[in-house]
């Protein structure tokens, strides 16, 4: 069942559906689509019981703003009493002792949580092949990947297994799978959404955001999950607007920048054509379009992989087999416990990034790599701040290719990293970005168009995304 939340609310009002019947339909789709391996756990009984409770609230007129919405959650976000595996063997049996702030807020707004979705281990990957629990498949072509690392959440929305889903985006892990599967994926501004209860990968980059069928549904979810949380010191004390009100259905008076560096030779011609069609639609809608330059674009992947792996090597030091997670058997002393638990518990890509991160932070290399990376991060952020002096948002492709074949890049880490070439910049600069479907290539694989906005201005990129959806591309 692929229904927008607006449609669901209408069905609830007319009596054509109940929260219970909607939840049952999604559970049916999740069951019949098991082969995609989108979910790592499904909460069938709990979800139905919760839906019945919400139906009673609807009758009594006391239901929250998300009544009727069924949400899937990436398995890197804590839901009390349920496993949170991060797609890793090292956390295979880990049960969350508390709820993440985003979960608390969704539940308080009367959303139903249907299950936890598959992902690249610790959100490290661009294909959802790096999961200890098997890869997630693209519904349109099962030999292909759905992108990553939030591939399970993207597929759950695409295949009608939920209304919306939560993912996380450290270098493109919401936007790129949204692009590959053909749904909407929003990475909010760094600090917009609390990370409390999110298992850390790279703390200065990680951000939680929604997948949805429409920009409007993404806006609805963002409004509920966004805002200051005293349990996350990096969550920003910036007012959260009513994002749905910003969706005016037009783009008159909006100035859109086209960063020329994002349209280079690496770009697939079909994707270029798709995105250019989107730009034409914006012009026809009354937006002003002008070319801008982000001169340090070519350095984003290098800076990103230095800084993100450094933060990861530090964050993942906590998996030592002592207090939680996998512990190797028959260890004689502490060092052996640490070393064997980690070596047996982590997968290859996670080890590779811990190694790279440890190297760039190690004595003698810190200045050459880590500090250099931080300086280049400043230059990249400055590029955006400069561009945003003359434009309201930027339009680019989300990914240089459409969904690739499983196995195609798994043995070539650098090629895999380069598939994030248009997305890591937003995480380096801390700005929000959204990917929306924008036609298909010759094989029918979805093309994603990315809109990047100013810090804390999700409203504008949602407005532009919402307008483009009406253009029927």
């Amino acid at each position: 069942m692929t229904k927008t939340f607006g449609r669901i609310k209408a069905d609830l009002r007319s009596g054509a559906a109940s929260c219970e019947s909607i939840t049952m339909e999604y559970l049916g789709s999740a069951e019949s689509g098991r082969r995609y391996n989108a979910f790592l756990s499904l909460f069938a009984e709990k979800a139905v019981a919760r839906a019945r409770e919400i139906d009673r609230k609807l009758k009594a007129g006391t239901a929250g703003p998300l009544a009727g919405m069924v949400v899937a959650v990436k398995d890197v976000i804590s839901l009390k009493g349920e496993r949170v595996t991060c797609g890793s063997k090292i956390l295979e049996d880990f049960v969350a002792p508390y709820d993440a702030t985003v979960i608390e807020r969704l539940i308080a707004a009367d959303a139903v949580i249907i299950g936890k979705t598959n992902m690249d281990e610790f959100a490290m990957g661009s294909s959802t092949e790096n999961s200890a629990f098997g890869r997630t498949k693209l519904p349109q072509d099962e030999d292909r990947v759905p992108g990553g690392s939030s591939g399970g959440s993207a597929v759950a929305v695409k295949a009608g297994m939920c209304t919306t889903a939560l993912g996380t985006d450290t270098g493109g892990s919401i936007r790129q799978p949204a692009s590959f599967t053909g749904v909407v994926g929003l990475k909010p501004t760094y600090g917009r959404v609390s990370r409390y209860g999110l298992v850390a990968f790279a703390s200065s980059f990680d951000q939680i955001g929604p997948f949805a069928l429409t920009a409007r549904d993404a806006a609805t979810v963002l409004r509920v999950i966004a805002g200051r949380d005293e349990r996350d010191a990096t969550s920003a004390d910036v007012p959260v607007p009513d994002y749905e009100k910003a969706l005016t259905g037009d783009v008159r008076g909006v100035t859109i920048g086209i960063p020329k560096e994002y349209y280079g030779e690496a770009l697939d011609p079909a994707i270029r054509a798709g995105v250019e069609k989107g730009i034409e639609a914006l012009k026809a809608g009354g937006a002003k379009v002008r070319e801008v330059s982000l001169p340090h674009t070519d350095y984003t992947i290098a800076a990103y992989y230095i800084l993100a792996t450094a933060e990861a090597s530090s964050n993942l030091a906590r998996y030592d087999g002592a207090r939680y997670g996998y512990r190797a058997k028959d260890v004689r002393d502490l060092t052996e416990m640490y070393t064997r638990s980690r070596s047996e518990g982590f997968g290859a890509e996670v080890k590779r990034r811990i190694m790279l991160g440890t190297y760039v932070l190690s004595a003698g290399y810190y200045d050459a790599y880590y500090r250099k990376g931080q300086k280049v991060r400043r230059l990249i952020q400055n590029d955006f701040l400069e561009a945003f002096k003359s434009v309201d948002c930027l339009v680019t492709p989300t990914s240089p290719s459409t969904a690739f074949k499983a196995g195609e890049k798994i043995d070539d880490p650098l090629q895999m990293y380069l598939s994030d070439i248009y997305t890591t910049s937003a995480n380096l600069a801390g700005i929000p970005g959204i990917s929306i479907p924008c036609g298909a290539d010759k094989q029918g694989l979805p093309i994603g168009l990315q809109i990047l906005g100013k810090h804390f201005d999700e409203a504008t990129i949602l407005r532009v995304a919402d307008f483009l959806e009406t253009c029927n591309m």
Binding site: A233, A322, S362, K375, Q381, P413
Partner: protein, 99 residues
């Protein structure tokens, strides 16, 4: 250039261990990635301030009051091994048997 010996050293720092075959593969892959990130040296950043935090944030103090946190049982619920109210790990101090 990272050598197999460097990889062994980094692995030790990261508390990871690898087979000989994995060490070879990692050495090769790390070198490819490091070669790629070398491009950052094309940029003159002598006068650039490093960016460690992307939005303006100030430290916010709160009153130092006791608030409920995890109970000992909750904190121990995922422990691979425990005894009473403690995490249990292999012996850390070398000494006499049973000491």
């Amino acid at each position: 250039m990272v050598t197999v010996k460097d990889v062994e050293h980094i692995a030790k720092l990261a508390r990871l261990e690898f087979s000989e075959e994995e060490k070879q593969k990692f050495t090769h892959q790390l070198n490819r990635i490091l070669e790629y990130v070398e491009k950052l040296n094309q940029l003159d950043t002598a006068t650039v301030e490093p960016l460690s935090h992307v939005i303006d944030l100030q430290n916010r103090m709160r009153d130092d009051v006791v608030r409920p946190g995890l109970t000992a049982e909750e904190a121990l619920m995922n422990a691979p091994a425990k005894t009473d109210k403690f995490f249990k790990v292999p012996k850390t101090v070398k000494g006499e048997e049973g000491g």
